[in-house]
């Protein structure tokens, strides 16, 4: 299936916006494992995911053509 990855702040410095073709990523927990495996820098960092513009509070199913945002801690204001 296809997932669009977007990233922000400090994380955008090492993860570009990209579309990936993957199989076997059923939910956001699996996606995190995939991400941290591919981008080990992420392991030491605090970050949140947003799945199709909803902030992920608990493990959530991922469907084909999902957009997932990777967001470091917010620092607006």
């Amino acid at each position: 299936m296809e997932i669009e990855i977007i990233s922000f702040g400090q994380i955008a410095e090492f993860i570009n916006h990209q579309k990936i073709e993957v199989d076997g990523i059923a939910d956001t927990d699996a996606f995190k494992r995939y991400l941290e495996d591919r981008f080990p820098t992420l392991k030491g960092m605090k970050y949140k995911l947003a799945l199709n513009k909803n902030i992920v509070q608990q493990n959530t199913e991922i469907k084909n053509q999902a957009t997932i945002a990777i967001m470091p801690p917010f620092s607006g204001g």
Partner: protein, 147 residues
């Protein structure tokens, strides 16, 4: 099609004092208002490891931020008897001494305006996906963290 009235809060670059004055002046026809509360965030020239912050460059996940701001707005209007609420946040570069955040609430009596303004500022710092990159005078940078 959404029926929600999602307002934009983002402005490019700093928020000018004249913009704030215009916003204040527009309320003179709203004669049920008795109290206005304003909060403004200003970029500090902090010294970090011997280097001074010269600017902050702001980016945001705009669509999510506006959606979240919509929710906050609804909840604040539910909680306080406000007449008006206006919120502006900079994107892009804002130099030290310039204004990056403008929150403006108004009510018949002072207490709801003051409480709502303070609560909106607290919430937007925690809940809106906005990031500030502190740029030093030597053009190196570090990512801001809200404490």
């Amino acid at each position: 099609m959404s029926e929600k009235n999602i307002k934009n809060i983002f402005v490019n670059g700093p928020i000018a004092p004249a913009f704030i004055a215009d916003s204040i002046a527009k309320h003179s026809s709203k004669t049920a208002i008795g109290g206005h509360s304003i909060f403004m965030g200003q970029v500090r020239k902090d010294e970090i490891n011997g280097k001074f912050v010269s600017a902050i460059a702001y980016t945001a996940y705009e669509e999510l931020a506006l959606e979240k701001m919509y929710q906050i707005r609804e909840e604040i209007f539910e909680k306080y008897p406000l007449k008006c609420m206006h919120i502006y946040h900079s994107l892009g570069t804002v130099k030290a001494g310039e204004i990056c955040l403008f929150v403006f609430t108004s009510s018949a009596h002072r207490k709801p305006a003051i409480a709502a303004c303070s609560e909106v500022v607290d919430r937007l710092k925690v809940e809106l996906p906005i990031w500030g990159k502190e740029i030093f005078e030597d053009e190196s940078h570090q990512w801001k963290e809200n404490s």
